[in-house]
Amino acid sequence: SKEEVKDKEVVEDTDNPEGETTPDAGAIKVGLIVPKTGQVAQYGIAVENAAKLAVAEVNAAGGINGQQVELISYDNKADAAESISVFNRLVDNDKIVALIGPVISSTSLAVGPLAEEAGIPMISPTATNLNVTVGYDYVFRACYIDPYQGGTVAKFATENLGAKKAAILYNSGDDYSTGLAEAFKATFEQAGGTITNYEGYTVDDKDFKAVLTKIKGNGPEALFVPDYYNTVGLIAGQVKEVGLDVTMLGGDGWDDVQKEYAEVMEGGFFANHYAADDPDPIVQDFITAYKGAYNGETPNALAALGYDAAKIMLAAIQTAGSTDGDAIRAAIKATDLDAVAGHITFDENGDPLKAISMIKIVAGELKLEAKVQ
Amino acid sequence: MLKVNDIQVYYGAIHAIKGISFEVNQGEIVTLIGANGAGKTTILHTVSGLIKPKTGNVQLFDKEISNIEAHKIVEMGMAQVPEGRRVFAKMSVQENLEMGAFSRKDKGNFDADYDMVFEKFPRLKERRKQLAGTMSGGEQQMLAMARALMSRPKILLMDEPSMGLAPILVDEIFNIIQEINKAGTTILLVEQNAHKALTIASRAYVLETGTVVLSGPANELLDNDEVKRAYLG
């Protein structure tokens, strides 16, 4: 564990957000906006950890064209107004050349137009809302979009599982959840399936027995629950309690669900960015490095995307050979990179073209079931 | 038995009591009279420990009590019938009386005391179960006095017990005050009804805006021209 501590120090030293210990005048400054306080702070912290790791690796390898990279990160409480403030702060006070983040779709939507106007290339690791990149040249993302994901799961349900009747239970107060639910519905019905229930619930709901009992009455074969893993785990437990016999399906929000809820999640499928059991050396190296830096914690999908986003950005700066916004933008556009979450190139919009992994939960482990393009 | 030595009391910036001293001896009825806002209630609150004087001190049974908490002073044998009665409106008459006996250590055996107060205030006996808040002003005043007596005080402070009462009740209340005193309780009485107060009291202090302007045996003050003009009308 001594080594771990050492490693951690190295990481934190090289990218101290305040730059107090390493005031490197010539450093390339890259901004990071993530939620570090409030209800979704864990996403932000996972992304920050991973991005720090990526930066530390680049710096350890001598930096970019001899210059060190300084990652300056601010908390945005997952709030749009705060995101705008910290973006301005990064640009005006800290003089960043590029931005990684924000994490949540709504905050990315708020920062997008500003990045565009300021000519600061931005890559959100995890904002899945369709509109984040639409109409902007400088805005990119490292994850796939809601409709693509929702549609893929629906296709998987009809083609691979042969489901005819499915129910949807989604968080009606959440952009991501609503987006996936709509896409799933459209694709599933297009493929000739029937949606028996299309039920919303509100954020923070903990008791789903009533609505699950209602769903049970309609006898669906599959239940699509596009939410984050904690809620999904909770719902899965209650699915068993009310005696509803269905295959559970979900999106990348499910990532990590196997840790605490293996028993109730058994046999469920979900779309994800990467699988920790992927033998690909890029993946395994990342996992090893992350574990080394953060007390042996296994990185989740958000961390993987944060790492990828940082890697894409750093590689683009390297390729561009300058800190000019336009050059970096062009370099990102031309990305052709093997990343943790698969091989990445960008389309017209700035959305990545990469495969979706459909993952099955078997005995508390994630098994790659299919890769869908 | 009660000694107040040169106390000064402030409400924030308002200087309400500007150096007052007086004493009350065993078995006396002492009355404080004075115009509105002279500081009578403030003095009683200070003596009871609800407010702390800025300077000066208060002694009860030769013990300084200026820095003792109000509820402990009650345990030492002082009770107060507060201005405006302040009975516990949502509690029954019986419960109000229980609250009066709260500080007593001789647990549970209050029957003799109930008998004593019910004898003085027969109306309360009929209304044992009634909520105090629904009783008329006069009945509430009786309850407030009975409640204070339940702690078997050695000294009883009363703040304007006749305020807002019908004339017939005013007489009754003053009679009862005298009875209580005869039974051995020392009394410090604050009254607007100066005439009545001076009639039953042994000594009196006259207050004006936070200071004592006159004091002496009650019957002398009753004949004092200044007092007559200012307080007896």
Binding site: P17, E18, K36, T37, G38, A41, I45, Y74, D75, K77, D79, A80, A81, I84, S85, V86, N88, R89, V91, D92, N93, S105, S106, T107, L109, A110, P113, N129, N131, N171, S172, G173, D174, D175, S177, T178, G179, G200, T202, V203 | -
Partner: protein, 326 residues
């Protein structure tokens, strides 16, 4: 001093402040980041002042202000997007949009106020909280306005100048209102509703009027927020957002509009400054809040108002008395 002289002094003070900040912005002493913070603070001032009108002046505990801001934000957004290409000048769009935002919020304020204002104190608080939640949940469920999806493509119509004058206008309107027979009527309801009615104040009317006025300005604050963010995230308008505004009001002093201004500035700067403690930001923020309330239980200003005229008078008196000593 005559009334108009006092007014002149206040206006001069405001103008000087405007010119000063504009200059600082122009010469780069204050940058775009500072400008953004000032705009946000301005929006908070409007929101909190409007809440203070309902809670501090009218005396009705209102815990659902975020709901009115949401209505204002959506109304302004829908209008500005609808006329987006009509070629109207920005200022005109802004003014009309904010008027619509305020009016829509006021209409809801009346609709909510009529039943709710029959209740008192904490009960009123919980009902307004409930209405705030109903508004938010309704937005999630109305597909036509985007449901839980953020509303996008709102033009950026709010800069420093706009927010500065908006704040001045809103505060002026509230001050003028308070210092009139209508304002006195509203204050009397806060002080003692029964006595107010007994001296001839139609209390029901003024309660609803006061509440609607408060909602109106909250709507404007919501509209301004939409124009500042250029997008609306419906999840913003939770009970916690109402609480944030409420905190500004109480910290500044219930019933003191200038106190609200100061509290909004203090909290706005504090929030930015605390970035250096990163994850601990909210922990320390909450602690400081508790400490501030314990130190100044009636808020920074109590019910008093800061007055430039009063200050000048004091200074004059002070210098005069000093001269006398010499």
């Amino acid at each position: 001093m005559k009334k108009w002289q006092e007014l002149l002094i206040s206006l001069t003070g405001i103008t000087i402040l405007y010119i000063l900040i504009s200059m600082l912005l122009k010469f780069g002493v204050l940058n775009n980041y500072n400008r953004g913070i000032m705009v946000l603070i301005g929006i908070n001032i409007i929101a909190a002042a409007s809440l203070n009108f309902a809670t501090g002046i009218l005396g009705q505990l209102a815990l659902g202000h975020a709901g009115f801001m949401a209505i204002g934000a959506y109304s302004a957004a829908i209008f500005s997007k609808a006329v987006g290409d009509a070629g109207m000048p920005d200022v005109v769009v802004l003014i009309i949009a904010l008027c619509i935002a305020g009016t829509m919020a006021a209409i809801f304020g009346i609709a909510i106020g009529i039943p709710a204002l029959r209740l008192r104190g904490d009960y009123l608080g919980i009902v307004t909280l409930g209405f705030g939640e109903i508004i938010r949940i309704s937005i999630y469920n109305i597909k036509a306005i985007g449901g839980a999806r953020p509303v996008l493509g709102i033009p950026n119509l709010i800069g420093f100048t706009e927010i500065f004058f908006l704040v001045v206008i809103v505060l002026m309107a509230l001050f003028l209102m308070i210092r009139s027979r209508h304002g006195r009527a509203i204050l009397s309801i806060r002080e003692n509703e029964i006595a107010a009615e007994a001296v001839g104040i139609p209390t029901t009317f003024y309660k609803i009027f006061g509440f609607a006025t408060s909602a109106f300005f909250a709507g404007i604050a919501g509209g301004a927020l939409a124009f500042n963010q250029r997008m609306i995230d419906p999840r913003k308008f939770t009970f916690m957002f109402s609480v944030e505004i409420f905190i500004i009001v109480v910290l500044g002093g219930m019933g003191s509009l200038t106190g609200t201004v100061v509290a909004a500035v203090v909290l706005g700067i504090l929030n930015e400054w605390l970035h250096f403690i990163d994850q601990y930001r909210l922990v320390i923020y909450a602690l400081l809040l508790v400490v501030m309330m314990i130190v100044r239980p009636s808020g920074l200003f109590g019910t008093r108002e800061f007055s430039l005229v009063g200050l000048i008078k004091k200074v004059i008196r002070f210098t005069k008395s000093n001269k006398n000593v010499e």
